[in-house]
Protein backbone atom coordinates (compact mmCIF):
# COMPACT_ATOMS: atom_id res chain seq x y z
CA UNK A 1 0.00 0.00 0.00
CA UNK A 2 1.39 3.42 -0.89
CA UNK A 3 0.28 6.89 0.08
CA UNK A 4 -0.05 9.90 -2.19
CA UNK A 5 3.58 10.80 -1.58
CA UNK A 6 4.66 7.44 -2.88
CA UNK A 7 6.28 6.08 0.25
CA UNK A 8 5.29 2.78 1.78
CA UNK A 9 2.62 3.38 4.43
CA UNK A 10 2.64 1.63 7.74
CA UNK A 11 -0.48 -0.05 9.03
CA UNK A 12 -1.04 2.61 11.66
CA UNK A 13 -0.81 5.55 9.29
CA UNK A 14 -4.10 7.37 9.96
CA UNK A 15 -4.53 8.23 6.27
CA UNK A 16 -4.53 4.57 5.34
CA UNK A 17 -7.10 3.78 8.01
CA UNK A 18 -9.31 6.58 6.77
CA UNK A 19 -9.33 5.20 3.23
CA UNK A 20 -10.33 1.77 4.47
CA UNK A 21 -13.02 3.15 6.74
CA UNK A 22 -14.63 5.02 3.88
CA UNK A 23 -14.72 1.82 1.87
CA UNK A 24 -16.59 -0.01 4.64
CA UNK A 25 -19.45 2.46 4.78
CA UNK A 26 -20.13 2.85 1.05
CA UNK A 27 -23.89 3.25 0.82
CA UNK A 28 -24.23 0.78 -2.05
CA UNK A 29 -23.47 -2.71 -0.75
CA UNK A 30 -20.63 -4.54 -2.48
CA UNK A 31 -22.69 -7.66 -3.20
CA UNK A 32 -25.60 -8.42 -5.52
CA UNK A 33 -29.07 -7.56 -4.16
CA UNK A 34 -30.68 -10.33 -2.13
CA UNK A 35 -34.31 -9.33 -2.53
CA UNK A 36 -36.42 -7.47 -5.04
CA UNK A 37 -36.88 -4.67 -2.57
CA UNK A 38 -33.12 -4.28 -2.15
CA UNK A 39 -32.59 -4.27 -5.92
CA UNK A 40 -35.30 -1.65 -6.32
CA UNK A 41 -33.87 0.52 -3.56
CA UNK A 42 -30.27 0.45 -4.76
CA UNK A 43 -31.20 1.52 -8.30
CA UNK A 44 -30.99 5.26 -8.79
CA UNK A 45 -33.43 7.14 -11.00
CA UNK A 46 -32.47 10.36 -12.75
CA UNK A 47 -31.30 13.07 -10.37
CA UNK A 48 -31.31 10.89 -7.26
CA UNK A 49 -28.39 10.23 -4.95
CA UNK A 50 -27.60 8.18 -1.87
CA UNK A 51 -26.74 9.74 1.46
CA UNK A 52 -25.35 7.64 4.26
CA UNK A 53 -26.63 8.83 7.62
CA UNK A 54 -24.70 7.09 10.33
CA UNK A 55 -23.49 4.82 11.81
CA UNK A 56 -21.84 7.58 13.82
CA UNK A 57 -24.40 10.28 13.23
CA UNK A 58 -25.24 11.94 16.57
CA UNK A 59 -28.99 11.92 16.00
CA UNK A 60 -29.31 8.18 15.45
CA UNK A 61 -29.40 7.54 19.23
CA UNK A 62 -26.76 4.88 19.11
CA UNK A 63 -25.26 3.12 16.15
CA UNK A 64 -27.72 3.09 13.30
CA UNK A 65 -27.00 3.57 9.63
CA UNK A 66 -29.77 4.85 7.41
CA UNK A 67 -29.16 4.95 3.67
CA UNK A 68 -31.29 7.77 2.33
CA UNK A 69 -32.21 8.02 -1.32
CA UNK A 70 -32.57 11.70 -2.07
CA UNK A 71 -34.03 13.78 -4.83
CA UNK A 72 -32.68 17.24 -4.15
CA UNK A 73 -33.39 17.74 -0.49
CA UNK A 74 -36.40 15.41 -0.38
CA UNK A 75 -36.14 11.87 0.91
CA UNK A 76 -37.44 9.45 -1.73
CA UNK A 77 -36.79 6.19 0.05
CA UNK A 78 -34.59 4.79 2.78
CA UNK A 79 -33.01 1.59 3.97
CA UNK A 80 -32.08 1.31 7.66
CA UNK A 81 -29.09 -0.94 8.28
CA UNK A 82 -29.10 -2.50 11.74
CA UNK A 83 -26.87 -4.85 13.64
CA UNK A 84 -23.98 -2.63 14.70
CA UNK A 85 -24.90 -3.21 18.34
CA UNK A 86 -26.13 -6.78 18.04
CA UNK A 87 -24.94 -8.78 21.04
CA UNK A 88 -27.12 -11.87 20.82
CA UNK A 89 -28.82 -11.29 24.15
CA UNK A 90 -31.44 -13.96 23.48
CA UNK A 91 -28.77 -16.60 22.93
CA UNK A 92 -26.88 -15.50 26.04
CA UNK A 93 -30.05 -15.76 28.10
CA UNK A 94 -30.77 -19.22 26.75
CA UNK A 95 -27.33 -20.23 28.01
CA UNK A 96 -27.76 -18.72 31.46
CA UNK A 97 -29.98 -19.85 34.30
CA UNK A 98 -33.22 -18.09 35.13
CA UNK A 99 -31.72 -15.67 37.64
CA UNK A 100 -28.74 -14.81 35.46
CA UNK A 101 -30.88 -14.09 32.42
CA UNK A 102 -32.41 -11.03 34.10
CA UNK A 103 -29.20 -9.03 34.19
CA UNK A 104 -28.53 -9.63 30.49
CA UNK A 105 -31.73 -7.79 29.62
CA UNK A 106 -30.77 -4.63 31.51
CA UNK A 107 -28.62 -2.97 28.83
CA UNK A 108 -31.21 -3.39 26.08
CA UNK A 109 -33.11 -0.16 26.60
CA UNK A 110 -30.58 1.31 28.90
CA UNK A 111 -32.56 4.43 29.79
CA UNK A 112 -35.43 2.33 31.16
CA UNK A 113 -33.70 -0.75 32.48
CA UNK A 114 -36.28 -1.67 35.12
CA UNK A 115 -38.90 -2.37 32.47
CA UNK A 116 -36.45 -4.67 30.70
CA UNK A 117 -36.15 -6.65 33.93
CA UNK A 118 -39.83 -6.64 34.68
CA UNK A 119 -41.01 -8.53 31.60
CA UNK A 120 -38.67 -11.54 31.97
CA UNK A 121 -39.24 -11.63 35.72
CA UNK A 122 -43.00 -11.73 35.13
CA UNK A 123 -42.63 -14.44 32.49
CA UNK A 124 -40.51 -16.60 34.79
CA UNK A 125 -42.95 -16.07 37.65
CA UNK A 126 -45.74 -17.31 35.40
CA UNK A 127 -43.70 -20.33 34.36
CA UNK A 128 -42.89 -21.20 37.97
CA UNK A 129 -46.30 -20.18 39.44
CA UNK A 130 -44.76 -17.76 41.91
CA UNK A 131 -46.94 -15.53 44.04
CA UNK A 132 -45.27 -12.11 44.38
CA UNK A 133 -45.78 -10.25 47.71
CA UNK A 134 -47.91 -7.15 47.37
CA UNK A 135 -45.25 -4.89 48.82
CA UNK A 136 -42.82 -6.07 46.17
CA UNK A 137 -45.36 -5.27 43.45
CA UNK A 138 -45.84 -1.78 44.85
CA UNK A 139 -42.09 -1.22 44.97
CA UNK A 140 -41.83 -2.39 41.37
CA UNK A 141 -44.51 0.02 40.25
CA UNK A 142 -43.01 2.86 42.27
CA UNK A 143 -39.47 2.44 40.98
CA UNK A 144 -40.41 1.82 37.39
CA UNK A 145 -42.79 4.78 37.21
CA UNK A 146 -39.93 6.93 38.47
CA UNK A 147 -37.84 5.57 35.66
CA UNK A 148 -40.61 6.26 33.16
CA UNK A 149 -40.47 9.91 34.15
CA UNK A 150 -36.71 9.92 33.75
CA UNK A 151 -36.94 8.26 30.36
CA UNK A 152 -39.61 10.66 29.08
CA UNK A 153 -37.66 13.64 30.42
CA UNK A 154 -34.62 12.45 28.57
CA UNK A 155 -36.70 11.97 25.43
CA UNK A 156 -37.68 15.63 25.49
CA UNK A 157 -34.09 16.68 25.84
CA UNK A 158 -32.87 14.45 23.03
CA UNK A 159 -35.67 15.51 20.77
CA UNK A 160 -34.82 19.18 21.21
CA UNK A 161 -31.15 18.38 20.77
CA UNK A 162 -31.84 16.67 17.45
CA UNK A 163 -33.62 19.81 16.34
CA UNK A 164 -30.66 21.95 17.37
CA UNK A 165 -31.71 23.15 20.83
CA UNK A 166 -29.05 22.55 23.44
CA UNK A 167 -30.68 23.79 26.64
CA UNK A 168 -33.47 21.21 27.20
CA UNK A 169 -31.05 18.28 27.30
CA UNK A 170 -29.18 19.93 30.17
CA UNK A 171 -32.41 20.49 32.06
CA UNK A 172 -33.67 17.00 31.47
CA UNK A 173 -30.38 15.54 32.65
CA UNK A 174 -30.86 17.42 35.90
CA UNK A 175 -34.20 15.68 36.29
CA UNK A 176 -32.82 12.32 35.23
CA UNK A 177 -29.85 12.63 37.56
CA UNK A 178 -32.04 13.22 40.55
CA UNK A 179 -34.08 10.14 39.70
CA UNK A 180 -31.18 7.82 39.02
CA UNK A 181 -29.47 8.99 42.19
CA UNK A 182 -32.61 8.09 44.07
CA UNK A 183 -32.77 4.70 42.40
CA UNK A 184 -29.11 4.14 43.07
CA UNK A 185 -29.85 4.59 46.77
CA UNK A 186 -32.54 1.94 46.38
CA UNK A 187 -30.84 -0.55 44.06
CA UNK A 188 -27.13 0.18 44.31
CA UNK A 189 -26.79 1.08 40.64
CA UNK A 190 -27.42 4.21 38.63
CA UNK A 191 -28.26 2.78 35.26
CA UNK A 192 -28.38 -1.00 34.95
CA UNK A 193 -30.15 -1.76 38.19
CA UNK A 194 -30.60 -5.53 38.22
CA UNK A 195 -33.09 -4.94 41.01
CA UNK A 196 -36.09 -7.13 40.21
CA UNK A 197 -35.86 -10.75 41.18
CA UNK A 198 -38.05 -13.72 40.41
CA UNK A 199 -40.59 -13.48 43.23
CA UNK A 200 -39.95 -9.91 44.34
CA UNK A 201 -37.27 -7.27 44.47
CA UNK A 202 -33.74 -7.20 45.83
CA UNK A 203 -34.01 -5.19 49.02
CA UNK A 204 -36.69 -3.16 50.72
CA UNK A 205 -37.19 0.59 50.56
CA UNK A 206 -34.58 2.40 52.63
CA UNK A 207 -34.40 5.73 54.38
CA UNK A 208 -32.00 7.30 51.90
CA UNK A 209 -34.30 6.55 48.97
CA UNK A 210 -37.45 7.65 50.73
CA UNK A 211 -36.02 10.93 51.96
CA UNK A 212 -34.70 11.78 48.49
CA UNK A 213 -38.00 10.80 46.93
CA UNK A 214 -40.04 12.80 49.43
CA UNK A 215 -37.85 15.80 48.83
CA UNK A 216 -38.16 15.44 45.06
CA UNK A 217 -41.92 14.87 45.11
CA UNK A 218 -42.52 18.23 46.80
CA UNK A 219 -41.09 20.04 43.79
CA UNK A 220 -41.42 17.49 40.96
CA UNK A 221 -44.62 18.92 39.50
CA UNK A 222 -43.36 22.49 39.57
CA UNK A 223 -40.02 21.45 38.10
CA UNK A 224 -41.75 19.49 35.35
CA UNK A 225 -44.00 22.41 34.42
CA UNK A 226 -40.98 24.72 34.38
CA UNK A 227 -39.13 22.37 32.03
CA UNK A 228 -42.11 22.35 29.71
CA UNK A 229 -41.92 26.10 29.26
CA UNK A 230 -38.72 25.59 27.33
CA UNK A 231 -40.36 23.70 24.50
CA UNK A 232 -44.15 23.96 24.72
CA UNK A 233 -44.06 27.72 24.42
CA UNK A 234 -41.28 27.74 21.87
CA UNK A 235 -42.78 28.81 18.58
CA UNK A 236 -39.92 27.45 16.49
CA UNK A 237 -40.21 24.02 18.09
CA UNK A 238 -43.99 23.78 17.90
CA UNK A 239 -44.21 24.95 14.28
CA UNK A 240 -41.46 22.60 13.28
CA UNK A 241 -43.10 19.58 14.89
CA UNK A 242 -46.74 20.18 14.03
CA UNK A 243 -47.96 18.12 11.09
CA UNK A 244 -44.61 16.41 10.66
CA UNK A 245 -44.39 12.63 10.35
CA UNK A 246 -48.12 12.07 10.62
CA UNK A 247 -49.38 8.52 10.94
CA UNK A 248 -53.02 7.48 11.21
CA UNK A 249 -54.56 4.91 13.51
CA UNK A 250 -55.07 2.15 10.96
CA UNK A 251 -51.51 2.40 9.71
CA UNK A 252 -50.09 2.55 13.22
CA UNK A 253 -51.84 -0.70 14.14
CA UNK A 254 -50.74 -2.29 10.88
CA UNK A 255 -47.18 -1.23 11.70
CA UNK A 256 -47.53 -3.05 15.07
CA UNK A 257 -46.96 0.18 16.98
CA UNK A 258 -47.69 0.29 20.70
CA UNK A 259 -47.13 2.71 23.54
CA UNK A 260 -47.05 6.50 23.23
CA UNK A 261 -46.56 6.36 19.46
CA UNK A 262 -49.84 4.48 19.04
CA UNK A 263 -51.68 6.55 21.65
CA UNK A 264 -50.64 9.71 19.82
CA UNK A 265 -52.89 8.54 16.96
CA UNK A 266 -55.92 8.31 19.26
CA UNK A 267 -55.99 4.68 20.44
CA UNK A 268 -56.08 4.33 24.24
CA UNK A 269 -54.05 1.11 24.10
CA UNK A 270 -51.95 0.77 27.21
CA UNK A 271 -50.91 -2.66 28.49
CA UNK A 272 -51.45 -1.41 32.05
CA UNK A 273 -55.16 -1.19 31.25
CA UNK A 274 -55.56 -3.41 28.18
CA UNK A 275 -54.06 -6.42 29.92
CA UNK A 276 -53.52 -5.40 33.54
CA UNK A 277 -50.56 -6.76 35.44
CA UNK A 278 -49.04 -6.22 38.85
CA UNK A 279 -51.10 -3.82 41.01
CA UNK A 280 -52.12 -1.44 38.23
CA UNK A 281 -55.82 -2.39 38.51
CA UNK A 282 -55.79 -0.87 42.03
CA UNK A 283 -54.21 2.39 40.95
CA UNK A 284 -56.05 5.38 39.59
CA UNK A 285 -54.57 6.98 36.50
CA UNK A 286 -55.73 8.03 33.04
CA UNK A 287 -54.43 7.03 29.67
CA UNK A 288 -53.73 10.23 27.78
CA UNK A 289 -54.34 10.15 24.04
CA UNK A 290 -53.93 12.60 21.18
CA UNK A 291 -55.57 12.41 17.81
CA UNK A 292 -53.09 14.16 15.53
CA UNK A 293 -50.47 11.39 15.24
CA UNK A 294 -47.68 13.82 14.35
CA UNK A 295 -44.36 14.55 16.03
CA UNK A 296 -45.86 17.21 18.25
CA UNK A 297 -48.58 14.81 19.44
CA UNK A 298 -45.98 12.18 20.29
CA UNK A 299 -44.07 14.78 22.27
CA UNK A 300 -47.10 16.19 24.11
CA UNK A 301 -48.36 12.73 24.92
CA UNK A 302 -45.18 11.95 26.83
CA UNK A 303 -45.60 15.22 28.70
CA UNK A 304 -49.04 14.06 29.80
CA UNK A 305 -47.70 10.64 30.77
CA UNK A 306 -45.24 12.21 33.18
CA UNK A 307 -48.15 13.80 35.04
CA UNK A 308 -49.90 10.43 35.25
CA UNK A 309 -46.74 8.76 36.51
CA UNK A 310 -46.47 11.36 39.27
CA UNK A 311 -50.03 10.48 40.26
CA UNK A 312 -49.15 6.79 40.39
CA UNK A 313 -46.04 7.41 42.50
CA UNK A 314 -48.08 9.47 44.93
CA UNK A 315 -50.62 6.67 45.32
CA UNK A 316 -47.90 4.05 45.73
CA UNK A 317 -46.35 6.02 48.57
CA UNK A 318 -49.69 6.40 50.31
CA UNK A 319 -50.93 2.85 49.79
CA UNK A 320 -47.65 0.93 50.22
CA UNK A 321 -48.53 -2.21 52.20
CA UNK A 322 -46.25 -3.81 54.78
CA UNK A 323 -44.82 -7.25 54.39
CA UNK A 324 -42.01 -9.17 52.78
CA UNK A 325 -40.47 -8.11 49.46
CA UNK A 326 -39.43 -11.56 48.26
CA UNK A 327 -41.31 -14.81 47.86
CA UNK A 328 -39.64 -17.89 49.26
CA UNK A 329 -37.90 -19.58 46.37
CA UNK A 330 -34.97 -21.95 45.95
CA UNK A 331 -31.71 -20.56 44.57
CA UNK A 332 -31.97 -22.65 41.42
CA UNK A 333 -35.40 -22.84 39.89
CA UNK A 334 -36.54 -25.46 37.43
CA UNK A 335 -40.01 -24.56 36.15
CA UNK A 336 -42.04 -27.37 34.71
CA UNK A 337 -42.17 -27.44 30.90
CA UNK A 338 -44.41 -24.77 29.52
CA UNK A 339 -44.63 -21.43 27.82
CA UNK A 340 -45.28 -17.97 29.16
CA UNK A 341 -45.75 -14.56 27.63
CA UNK A 342 -45.43 -11.44 29.74
CA UNK A 343 -45.64 -7.85 28.58
CA UNK A 344 -45.16 -4.56 30.38
CA UNK A 345 -45.95 -1.05 29.26
CA UNK A 346 -42.53 0.52 28.96
CA UNK A 347 -41.88 4.17 28.20
CA UNK A 348 -41.65 3.27 24.50
CA UNK A 349 -44.42 0.73 24.27
CA UNK A 350 -44.99 -2.92 24.81
CA UNK A 351 -41.86 -4.61 26.10
CA UNK A 352 -42.52 -8.33 26.18
CA UNK A 353 -40.83 -11.63 26.79
CA UNK A 354 -41.86 -15.07 25.56
CA UNK A 355 -40.15 -17.76 27.59
CA UNK A 356 -40.26 -21.49 26.96
CA UNK A 357 -39.20 -23.88 29.69
CA UNK A 358 -38.11 -27.47 29.10
CA UNK A 359 -37.81 -28.36 32.78
CA UNK A 360 -34.12 -27.54 33.17
CA UNK A 361 -32.61 -24.58 35.01
CA UNK A 362 -32.14 -22.56 31.79
CA UNK A 363 -34.84 -21.06 29.57
CA UNK A 364 -35.18 -23.17 26.44
CA UNK A 365 -36.28 -20.18 24.39
CA UNK A 366 -36.09 -16.60 25.52
CA UNK A 367 -37.67 -14.15 23.11
CA UNK A 368 -37.42 -10.42 23.74
CA UNK A 369 -39.89 -8.17 21.98
CA UNK A 370 -38.56 -4.67 21.95
CA UNK A 371 -40.78 -1.71 21.05
CA UNK A 372 -37.89 0.35 19.65
CA UNK A 373 -37.22 -2.30 17.02
CA UNK A 374 -40.82 -2.35 15.86
CA UNK A 375 -41.20 1.42 15.88
CA UNK A 376 -38.02 2.06 13.98
CA UNK A 377 -39.31 0.26 10.90
CA UNK A 378 -42.09 2.79 10.51
CA UNK A 379 -39.53 5.43 9.50
CA UNK A 380 -39.82 3.72 6.11
CA UNK A 381 -43.38 5.10 5.93
CA UNK A 382 -42.86 8.40 7.73
CA UNK A 383 -39.73 9.76 6.09
CA UNK A 384 -40.36 9.65 2.31
CA UNK A 385 -41.44 13.05 1.05
CA UNK A 386 -39.85 14.94 3.93
CA UNK A 387 -36.72 17.06 3.98
CA UNK A 388 -33.40 15.62 5.08
CA UNK A 389 -33.40 17.97 8.06
CA UNK A 390 -36.71 16.51 9.22
CA UNK A 391 -35.49 12.93 9.26
CA UNK A 392 -33.83 13.55 12.63
CA UNK A 393 -36.98 15.12 14.05
CA UNK A 394 -39.16 12.22 12.94
CA UNK A 395 -36.76 9.54 14.11
CA UNK A 396 -36.31 11.24 17.46
CA UNK A 397 -40.07 11.54 17.94
CA UNK A 398 -40.39 7.74 17.70
CA UNK A 399 -37.87 7.52 20.57
CA UNK A 400 -35.89 4.45 19.51
CA UNK A 401 -33.05 3.19 21.70
CA UNK A 402 -30.52 1.34 19.59
CA UNK A 403 -29.50 -0.93 22.45
CA UNK A 404 -33.00 -2.34 22.28
CA UNK A 405 -33.31 -2.29 18.50
CA UNK A 406 -30.17 -4.35 17.97
CA UNK A 407 -30.50 -6.62 21.01
Amino acid sequence: MTTATGRQASADDPRVMLDEQIGVFEPVPPYPPRTEREAEFYTLADGELFLNMGPQHPSTHGVLRVVLKLDGERVVDLDPVLGYLHRGVEKLCENADYHQAICYTDPLEYVSALFNEWAPVMAFEKLHDVEVPRRAEYIRVLSSELLRISSHALFMGWMALDLGGLTPILWSFIERDEIVDMLSALTGQRMLFNYFRIGGVNGDLNHDFLSRLGDWMTRATAQHEANLGLLNENEVFVRRMRGLGTIDTRTAIRMCMTGPNLRATGVPFDIRRAHPYSVYPELRFDIPTRSEGDCLARYLLRVDEIRQSLRIIDQCLHEMPDGPVMAKLPRLIRPRPGRAYAAVEGPRGQYAVYAVSDGTDQPFRFRIHDPSFVHLQSVGLLLPGNLVADTMAIMASLDPIMGGVDK
Binding site: C256, D358, S378
Partner: protein, 182 residues
Protein backbone atom coordinates in the same frame (compact mmCIF):
# COMPACT_ATOMS: atom_id res chain seq x y z
CA UNK B 1 -58.37 -18.04 31.52
CA UNK B 2 -61.09 -17.10 29.11
CA UNK B 3 -63.35 -20.13 28.64
CA UNK B 4 -65.61 -18.32 26.19
CA UNK B 5 -62.69 -17.59 23.90
CA UNK B 6 -61.75 -21.25 24.03
CA UNK B 7 -65.23 -22.28 22.89
CA UNK B 8 -65.22 -19.67 20.14
CA UNK B 9 -61.86 -20.86 18.85
CA UNK B 10 -62.83 -24.53 19.02
CA UNK B 11 -66.01 -24.02 17.04
CA UNK B 12 -64.58 -21.58 14.50
CA UNK B 13 -61.29 -23.36 13.75
CA UNK B 14 -62.32 -26.99 14.27
CA UNK B 15 -60.86 -27.92 10.89
CA UNK B 16 -57.54 -26.13 11.34
CA UNK B 17 -56.57 -26.89 14.95
CA UNK B 18 -53.87 -29.54 15.16
CA UNK B 19 -54.20 -29.97 18.92
CA UNK B 20 -56.35 -28.98 21.86
CA UNK B 21 -56.75 -25.32 22.83
CA UNK B 22 -54.54 -24.89 25.88
CA UNK B 23 -55.00 -22.31 28.59
CA UNK B 24 -52.77 -21.34 31.48
CA UNK B 25 -52.70 -18.19 33.58
CA UNK B 26 -53.81 -15.41 31.21
CA UNK B 27 -52.86 -17.11 27.97
CA UNK B 28 -54.75 -19.10 25.37
CA UNK B 29 -52.81 -21.14 22.90
CA UNK B 30 -53.75 -22.81 19.63
CA UNK B 31 -51.66 -24.88 17.28
CA UNK B 32 -52.11 -24.93 13.54
CA UNK B 33 -50.27 -26.21 10.49
CA UNK B 34 -47.98 -23.68 8.77
CA UNK B 35 -50.12 -23.73 5.62
CA UNK B 36 -53.16 -22.51 7.57
CA UNK B 37 -51.46 -19.39 8.91
CA UNK B 38 -52.91 -16.86 6.42
CA UNK B 39 -56.48 -18.18 6.73
CA UNK B 40 -56.50 -18.47 10.50
CA UNK B 41 -54.82 -15.14 11.17
CA UNK B 42 -57.03 -13.36 8.65
CA UNK B 43 -60.10 -14.80 10.35
CA UNK B 44 -58.78 -13.83 13.78
CA UNK B 45 -58.00 -10.33 12.52
CA UNK B 46 -61.17 -9.65 10.53
CA UNK B 47 -64.09 -11.38 12.25
CA UNK B 48 -65.74 -9.02 14.73
CA UNK B 49 -66.39 -11.68 17.40
CA UNK B 50 -62.64 -12.41 17.46
CA UNK B 51 -61.15 -9.05 16.49
CA UNK B 52 -57.50 -9.86 17.17
CA UNK B 53 -56.28 -6.75 15.48
CA UNK B 54 -53.03 -6.16 17.36
CA UNK B 55 -50.01 -8.31 16.58
CA UNK B 56 -47.89 -8.09 19.70
CA UNK B 57 -45.07 -10.36 18.77
CA UNK B 58 -43.84 -12.70 16.07
CA UNK B 59 -40.99 -15.10 16.61
CA UNK B 60 -39.69 -18.57 15.90
CA UNK B 61 -38.70 -21.44 18.17
CA UNK B 62 -36.33 -24.29 17.39
CA UNK B 63 -37.52 -27.24 19.45
CA UNK B 64 -34.56 -29.38 18.42
CA UNK B 65 -36.71 -31.59 16.21
CA UNK B 66 -38.89 -29.06 14.38
CA UNK B 67 -39.35 -25.34 13.96
CA UNK B 68 -42.29 -23.31 15.18
CA UNK B 69 -43.41 -19.81 14.31
CA UNK B 70 -45.24 -18.15 17.19
CA UNK B 71 -47.66 -15.22 16.98
CA UNK B 72 -49.03 -13.33 19.97
CA UNK B 73 -52.23 -11.39 19.46
CA UNK B 74 -54.41 -9.06 21.50
CA UNK B 75 -58.08 -8.36 21.19
CA UNK B 76 -60.52 -6.16 23.12
CA UNK B 77 -62.93 -9.12 23.11
CA UNK B 78 -60.82 -11.25 25.44
CA UNK B 79 -58.76 -10.69 28.59
CA UNK B 80 -56.24 -13.31 27.43
CA UNK B 81 -53.17 -13.14 25.26
CA UNK B 82 -53.75 -15.38 22.26
CA UNK B 83 -50.77 -17.42 21.14
CA UNK B 84 -50.91 -19.03 17.72
CA UNK B 85 -48.22 -21.63 17.11
CA UNK B 86 -47.56 -22.74 13.55
CA UNK B 87 -46.07 -26.08 14.40
CA UNK B 88 -44.11 -28.75 12.61
CA UNK B 89 -41.92 -26.82 10.18
CA UNK B 90 -39.04 -28.95 8.98
CA UNK B 91 -35.63 -27.94 10.29
CA UNK B 92 -34.04 -28.51 6.89
CA UNK B 93 -36.22 -26.07 4.99
CA UNK B 94 -38.67 -24.27 7.28
CA UNK B 95 -41.28 -22.37 5.30
CA UNK B 96 -44.37 -20.47 6.37
CA UNK B 97 -46.52 -17.87 4.61
CA UNK B 98 -45.84 -14.29 5.61
CA UNK B 99 -48.38 -12.22 7.53
CA UNK B 100 -47.19 -8.89 6.15
CA UNK B 101 -50.45 -8.66 4.18
CA UNK B 102 -52.22 -8.12 7.53
CA UNK B 103 -49.52 -6.36 9.56
CA UNK B 104 -46.88 -4.52 7.62
CA UNK B 105 -44.98 -4.18 10.88
CA UNK B 106 -44.37 -7.92 10.87
CA UNK B 107 -41.82 -7.41 8.11
CA UNK B 108 -38.83 -6.74 10.33
CA UNK B 109 -39.88 -9.34 12.88
CA UNK B 110 -39.99 -11.90 10.08
CA UNK B 111 -36.60 -10.74 8.88
CA UNK B 112 -35.31 -11.24 12.40
CA UNK B 113 -36.78 -14.75 12.59
CA UNK B 114 -35.20 -15.51 9.22
CA UNK B 115 -31.86 -14.14 10.36
CA UNK B 116 -31.83 -16.06 13.61
CA UNK B 117 -33.55 -19.32 12.59
CA UNK B 118 -33.51 -19.50 8.80
CA UNK B 119 -37.29 -19.59 8.53
CA UNK B 120 -38.43 -18.53 5.07
CA UNK B 121 -41.53 -16.35 5.14
CA UNK B 122 -43.13 -16.69 1.73
CA UNK B 123 -44.53 -13.36 0.58
CA UNK B 124 -42.26 -11.09 2.64
CA UNK B 125 -40.91 -8.71 0.04
CA UNK B 126 -37.66 -7.95 1.88
CA UNK B 127 -36.55 -11.19 3.50
CA UNK B 128 -32.84 -10.64 4.13
CA UNK B 129 -30.65 -10.69 7.18
CA UNK B 130 -31.26 -7.82 9.57
CA UNK B 131 -28.67 -8.17 12.37
CA UNK B 132 -25.96 -10.44 11.04
CA UNK B 133 -23.70 -9.43 8.13
CA UNK B 134 -24.90 -10.38 4.65
CA UNK B 135 -22.18 -12.99 4.12
CA UNK B 136 -23.02 -14.81 7.34
CA UNK B 137 -23.98 -18.41 6.76
CA UNK B 138 -25.43 -19.81 9.99
CA UNK B 139 -28.51 -19.20 12.10
CA UNK B 140 -27.42 -18.31 15.63
CA UNK B 141 -30.53 -19.07 17.65
CA UNK B 142 -30.84 -22.63 16.37
CA UNK B 143 -30.15 -25.27 18.95
CA UNK B 144 -27.23 -26.71 17.01
CA UNK B 145 -25.40 -23.38 17.16
CA UNK B 146 -23.25 -23.72 20.23
CA UNK B 147 -21.59 -20.98 22.19
CA UNK B 148 -17.86 -21.51 22.70
CA UNK B 149 -18.23 -21.06 26.46
CA UNK B 150 -20.99 -23.60 26.78
CA UNK B 151 -18.48 -25.95 28.39
CA UNK B 152 -20.47 -26.38 31.58
CA UNK B 153 -23.15 -28.12 29.60
CA UNK B 154 -21.30 -29.83 26.81
CA UNK B 155 -18.76 -32.62 26.97
CA UNK B 156 -16.59 -30.60 24.62
CA UNK B 157 -17.72 -31.97 21.31
CA UNK B 158 -18.15 -29.44 18.54
CA UNK B 159 -17.63 -26.43 20.76
CA UNK B 160 -14.62 -25.06 18.98
CA UNK B 161 -16.63 -23.56 16.13
CA UNK B 162 -18.15 -20.22 16.93
CA UNK B 163 -19.71 -19.85 13.53
CA UNK B 164 -20.74 -23.33 12.76
CA UNK B 165 -22.46 -23.51 9.41
CA UNK B 166 -25.88 -25.01 9.73
CA UNK B 167 -25.79 -28.57 8.47
CA UNK B 168 -29.14 -30.33 8.28
CA UNK B 169 -30.05 -33.18 10.63
CA UNK B 170 -27.77 -34.73 13.25
CA UNK B 171 -25.51 -31.69 13.21
CA UNK B 172 -25.51 -31.39 16.98
CA UNK B 173 -24.56 -34.22 19.29
CA UNK B 174 -27.79 -35.64 20.64
CA UNK B 175 -26.85 -34.83 24.21
CA UNK B 176 -26.68 -31.12 23.40
CA UNK B 177 -30.09 -30.82 21.84
CA UNK B 178 -32.47 -30.17 24.66
CA UNK B 179 -35.99 -30.88 23.58
CA UNK B 180 -39.12 -29.01 24.49
CA UNK B 181 -41.09 -31.80 26.06
CA UNK B 182 -44.43 -30.12 26.16
Amino acid sequence: MDRALRRRLESRFAAQLSGPVRQRHDETEIRIAPGDVPDVLRALHDEPELDFEVLLDLTAVDTGTAMQVVYHLWSPTSPDWLRVIADGLSREDPRVPSVTFLWKGAEWQEREAYDMFGVTFEGNRDLRRIYMPPDYTSFPLRKDFLLPDDAARSPGAGVQHMERTHAPAAAAPEALVRRARS
